[in-house]
């Protein structure tokens, strides 16, 4: 049985993150999946990084013959290796803060999760779950209100601005609760970023993001990216904080049904606080994507979306 193959031009043509550069350099080659295809990312220290796609028919997890190997385009950005299965654009979005020299910019871990990339992105964009899923870290009951914010969409990016939330510890460098102001930016259908006022310099922003790799329709890998002005905390502390946060989200994400993101307007019940997710689902609808999503209201999952893993 084959993993469902992605036929969506819009997804095939995108750049996707597939591995953290240090993972390839130090522990490579890395084998992974992208949109249901098997990939191997290799390149020891001093070599060029290369990515091969194995076009091998597989049955019950067994490779039946050698199959073909195809070399894929490679791009390095924000600490990750990116590739594409189609005809990718020249340009990948930019994060200007990444280039500022007085920051700590790095990937802070890649976390696999058994749900679709779409569900993972929505979770990152969601404020309302803080007091329930990240109680004591990013939110605290009973401070549950999501104040109105504004959302814009310009065909290429979604921005949510003016978001506010009460947080007990918004970042490792914060020592007590504060109302934190956020801006969310969806720079790519699977790359949400978050800008928040830096506790160190109120005029500048910390940037946190996840670059989500759609491995199959119902599995994803969230590659975390950080660009902080924080001078006091070491790598390990920051990574641990991020790992705790993701560890809290993971069981929630894996208990959402269906795993593929429903796009039909009546499939779920959005509320005002979900403005960003509402625009996100509309964007995916407009892109014509059908991989990892459920497009209309009445569709049944008659065929299970099988995969090999």
């Amino acid at each position: 049985m084959f993993a469902a193959r992605c036929e969506d031009a819009a997804l095939l043509d995108l750049w996707h993150p597939v591995a953290a550069i240090p993972d390839v350099r130090e522990r490579g080659p890395v084998s992974t999946q992208l949109l249901g295809q098997m990939l191997v990312v290799s390149g020891q220290e001093g070599e060029e990084i290369s990515i091969k796609e194995f076009m091998a028919p597989m049955v019950h997890g067994q490779v039946f013959n050698q199959g073909r190997e195809v070399s894929l385009p490679v791009r390095e950005a924000f600490g990750f290796v990116w590739t594409s299965l189609g005809a990718p654009p020249e340009r990948l979005f930019d994060i200007p803060e990444f280039h500022e020299t007085d920051r700590w910019s790095e990937n802070s871990g890649s976390f696999r999760v058994h749900t679709s990339a779409g569900r993972t992105v929505e979770n990152f964009l969601d404020l309302a779950h803080f007091p329930f899923v990240h109680e004591g870290y990013l939110g605290e009951q009973p401070y549950t209100e999501v104040k109105d914010y504004s959302v814009t969409f310009d065909d290429r990016e979604i921005w949510a601005t003016g978001c506010e939330f009460y947080q007990p510890i918004a970042a490792v460098s914060a020592t007590d609760g504060q109302v934190t102001k956020y801006t969310y930016r969806l720079a790519h259908p699977f790359c949400p970023l978050l800008y928040k006022t830096s506790p160190v310099d109120p005029k500048r922003f910390d940037v946190i993001g996840i670059f989500v790799q759609p491995m199959t329709e119902v599995r994803a890998c969230a590659h975390q990216f950080l660009s902080l002005l924080d001078e006091t905390n070491d790598d390990a502390t920051i990574k641990r904080f991020q790992a705790i946060i993701f560890g809290q989200d993971k069981p929630i994400l894996e208990n959402q049904v269906p795993k593929r993101l429903p796009l039909g307007s009546r499939a779920e019940t959005p509320i005002t606080a979900d403005k960003t997710s509402i625009q996100y689902r509309r964007w995916l609808t407009e892109l014509g994507i059908s991989y990892g999503v459920i497009r209309d209201n009445t569709q049944r999952d008659s065929e299970p979306c099988s995969e090999i893993f």
């Binding site: 049985m1 019950h60 058994h114 929505e122 969601d126 404020l127 309302a128 779950h129 007091p131 329930f132 899923v133 009951q141 009973p142 401070y143 549950t144 209100e145 999501v146 504004s150 959302v151 814009t152 969409f153 329709e217 119902v218 599995r219 069981p251 929630i252 208990n255 959402q256 049904v257 269906p258 795993k259 593929r260 429903p262 039909g264 307007s265 009546r266 499939a267 779920e268 019940t269 959005p270 509320i271 005002t272 606080a273 979900d274 403005k275 509402i278 625009q279 459920i294 209201n297 009445t298 569709q299 049944r300 999952d301 008659s302 299970p304 979306c305 099988s306 995969e307 090999i308 893993f309």
Partner: protein
């Protein structure tokens, strides 16, 4: 659909549900969540939160409501209606937000459920009223037909317990019904029933019971013997079928994904019967109302219902019920001095067994639950909505104090509900208006940024509390009130006209209703879902007029373009909107 779909199946043993547990199971591949409220009612729902699809089985059973783990939405016992959305503490959830409820009941130590409403016929009918001895339920990784096939040919040793020894007998099934197998001991004094739950297309659960329940001393022998034999049976059956690769493949769920809209998405009047009336305090009669047919709609603390009296009058009364008390509504009616036939009629003419019409509930007095403290001020009969609020707060970790001002202890109503509050209830007896004000000043203190105030009672008292709060620095958004004689429901929205371009109709939308309401009342069928401007279902094109969008579905550019509106929330800045329908 598979055959046997319209049948009752055991889906959980009642033992699985104790201690506010939330139990998860499946029937023909449909995920179910099963939980028992403190009042004993067992709920069987679709295991999926309507908001963003979280399994409710990872949520919290607080004894009256099931709370979703992702964003804390609360769903009421019995109706599965959503009662509170923490992200929007001052809004009432739309009535359409109601989870799918599966038919179910409890009998013989098991919860029985069905995917569709079906006949009363159970696969197992026990004549003996005693609770049987329930065996441990056993899941098998084997499809239903295989289990059935093997059970036809299987024999069990039935231990017949005596005080000090177990005799064994071997019996073939007496009845081979597809979902239930019955075995008898030689002297017919005990029967063992094995019942099958079709979990999904790869898995079956065997539930079993012994009836009548053997004597205490021999129970353990029975359990040991049967559990061991069943475990052996499982091993045999599982090893007899070929390993199916499909079991290791990921499947997304196999059922339809449309949010099922619960019953009563549009409510009108319903018939209720007075099941109890009692004098609860001087001049105050309590009425308990039960539905003549079906269930009562979900309510939230602070809600009121409209009673439509046989004399033609309609009157509004707050519900005093605590959360999850869905089998009955309770109201308190005070005899008003110059009653024009409302309270007088209720006091004099409405008796137990009488029927009347009710609509609602509506909620204009919403309880926020996003501050650590809540102060409730009740004057006389104004207690009623605050009593409902106090009971809801009592279920949470939030602290509150209910201050109850009455003339004397004979005026204290609904004292049967007070025990749960302990010292969170403070009664103030026989105070003069000046003393009352003094007491309010003392208890309110200056604004602490951590509290909300709710007040209900005589208009003079509410005005005093509002003014006192303001002079102590409390911002208006922290002070909530409902005038007891709430005859005019204020609405901040103004009236306007809509013209339907294609059908040529002109209709007016007054302050109390939405465009969607008016369209529906006039026979224009329009689908809706969230009814708060977030899902885009009730969108229509706009040809003319200046809309007041109020929705969150469209983005800013689309708002500026002004060519589409959401009929559930959008209104008008101009006198008239021309719609493309």
């Amino acid at each position: 659909m598979a055959k046997g779909i319209a049948e009752w199946y055991p889906v959980a043993s009642i033992k699985d549900l104790r201690e506010r547990h939330v139990f998860q199971t499946e029937l023909f591949g449909h995920e179910l969540v099963v939980w028992q409220a403190d009042d004993g009612y067992v709920n069987v729902w679709e295991n999926r939160c309507l908001h963003r699809g979280s399994r409710l089985s990872v949520g919290i059973n607080d004894g009256a409501e099931l709370v979703c783990a992702y964003h804390g939405w609360r769903y009421a016992n019995q109706t599965a209606g959503c009662t509170y959305i923490p992200a929007h503490p001052s809004n009432s959830p739309a009535r359409t937000i109601c989870n799918r409820v599966y038919p179910s009941f409890v009998r013989h130590g098991f919860v029985w459920s069905a995917l569709e409403q079906c006949s009363d016929q159970l696969v197992v009918e026990l004549t003996n009223d005693d609770e049987p001895l329930v065996l441990r339920s056993l899941p098998l990784d084997v499809p239903l037909e295989e289990v059935q096939k093997h059970l036809q040919n299987c024999e069990f040793n039935l231990g017949e317990g005596t005080d000090d020894q177990v005799q064994k007998h071997k019996y073939a099934p007496a009845v081979g019904e597809p979902y239930s197998y019955k075995y008898r001991t030689s002297n017919s004094s005990f029967s063992v029933h094995l019942m099958l739950q079709p979990f999904d297309d790869k898995k079956t659960v065997i539930h079993g019971l012994v009836t009548p329940a053997p004597k205490k001393e021999s129970r353990l022998d029975w359990l040991l013997s049967l559990n061991t034999q069943l475990a052996k049976f499982r091993e045999e059956v599982e090893s007899s079928i070929s390993v199916d690769m499909g079991r290791w493949l990921d499947t997304d769920d196999t059922h339809a994904h449309q949010v099922s809209q619960g019953a009563g998405s549009r409510v009108s009047e319903m018939e209720v019967v007075v099941s109890k009336r009692w004098l609860t305090a001087i001049d105050i009669v309590g009425f308990e109302l039960r539905p003549v047919e079906g269930g009562l709609p979900t309510f939230q603390p602070g809600a009121h219902v409209d009673l439509h009296l046989p004399n033609g009058l309609s009157r509004q009364y707050s519900l005093i019920n605590g959360p999850g008390e869905q089998d009955r509504y309770q109201i308190g009616v005070k005899l008003e001095q110059n009653s024009r036939g409302g309270s007088k009629f209720l006091h004099e003419e409405l008796h137990e067994g009488d029927q009347l019409l009710l609509s609602g509930p509506h909620n204009n007095f919403r309880l926020r639950r996003d501050t650590p403290q809540t102060l409730l001020f009740a004057g006389g009969i104004g207690l009623t909505p605050l009593l409902a609020m106090a009971q809801a707060l009592e279920r949470t970790d939030l602290s509150f104090i209910l201050h109850y001002f009455v003339q004397s202890s004979e005026h204290l109503a609904f004292q049967e509900r007070f025990a749960q509050f302990g010292d969170q209830l403070k009664t103030h007896l026989g105070l003069s208006p000046a003393e009352t004000e003094q007491r309010v000043v003392e208890t309110l203190g200056s604004y602490d940024h951590l509290s909300q105030v709710y007040a209900c009672g005589p208009p003079a008292m509410i005005s005093m509390i509002r003014e006192t709060a303001m002079s102590l620095g409390w911002p208006p958004e922290a002070v909530h009130f409902e005038y007891f004689k709430n005859e005019i429901i204020l609405d901040e929205f103004s009236a306007f006209e809509i013209h339907l371009a294609r059908s040529g109709m002109t209709l007016s939308v007054d302050s109390g209703s939405t465009i969607l309401d008016v369209l529906r009342e006039n026979g224009v069928a329009l689908a809706s879902s969230c009814e708060q401007g977030a899902c885009g279902t009730c969108e229509v094109g706009l040809l003319e007029g200046e809309p007041n969008h109020q929705d969150v579905y469209l983005n800013e550019t689309e708002h500026e373009a002004g060519t589409r509106i959401m009929t559930c929330v959008s209104r008008s800045h101009s006198d008239r909107l021309v719609l493309d329908i």
